[in-house]
């Protein structure tokens, strides 16, 4: 069907609250990535899922961040006890896998604002 979708598109939350961000990858894509992009900055890698392999969590900035991918499809990024520095756009991307073509298809992102 369509491309990568993410929800919500915008989320405003109070400091200390938990948030869940959702990503629906393109059907059949086995690889899924989460990135964070602060205003005017580059892409900060957070976590990577590839098929049934253990996820690469090396980019998660703290133990307040976690992500899961159910059934090899939909992924949820959870941020607990949000802080103001968590404010950013959270981008999800999927790809067919690690080999060629391997290009990543990005979703529109979730803009998170922590007040």
């Amino acid at each position: 069907g369509a491309g990568v979708s993410q929800s919500p598109s915008n989320k405003v939350t109070e400091k200390g609250k938990d948030v869940e961000l959702r990503c629906d990858p393109i059907s059949g894509h086995t690889a899924l990535y989460w990135y964070r992009q602060s205003l005017g900055q580059g892409l900060e890698f957070l976590i990577y899922f590839q098929g049934n392999s253990a996820p690469d969590k090396s980019g998660l900035p703290s133990d307040r961040f976690s992500a899961e991918r159910t059934g090899g499809s939909v992924s949820t990024l959870t941020i607990q006890r949000t802080q103001q520095e968590d404010s950013a756009v959270y981008l999800c991307a999927s790809s067919l896998g690690t080999g060629y073509p391997g290009e990543q298809y990005f979703g529109p992102g979730t803009r998170l604002t922590v007040t």
Binding site: G42, F45, D56, L91, Q104, Y105
Partner: protein, 111 residues
């Protein structure tokens, strides 16, 4: 750790001038990809280079992959206002599973 450095961070040109952004990796790459992110948008895949010394062209855009597969460049000839955005390179280190993104080069154009 594995790093991909991209320069310059910002570039402002007059419309019609050329533009080049460079990408350098600390390790040998299996392949390198380029993405464009328009203001307010999300990154969109442009191209992938796999072979040592590879050169690919897309209209006014020329992409190169270095002989040692550690560096790459994107050159835009005669920029147009539609070229405005941030250009990211993303390399896959040999033996690694994931892409490593450069910090991007933000291109602005004076019409």
């Amino acid at each position: 750790g594995q790093q991909v450095m991209q320069i310059p961070q910002y570039q402002h040109v007059q419309e019609g001038e050329d533009f080049t952004t460079y990408c350098n990796s600390s390790t040998t790459l299996s392949n390198i990809q380029w993405y464009k992110q328009r203001p307010g948008g999300h990154p969109v895949f442009l191209i992938q280079l796999v072979k040592s010394g590879e050169v690919k062209k897309q209209k006014r855009l020329t992409f190169q992959f270095g002989e040692a597969k550690k560096n790459s460049s994107l050159h835009i000839t005669a920029t147009q206002t539609t070229d405005v955005g941030t250009y990211f390179c993303a390399g896959r280190p040999q033996g690694a599973q994931k892409l490593v993104f450069g910090q991007g080069t933000r291109l602005t154009i004076n019409p």
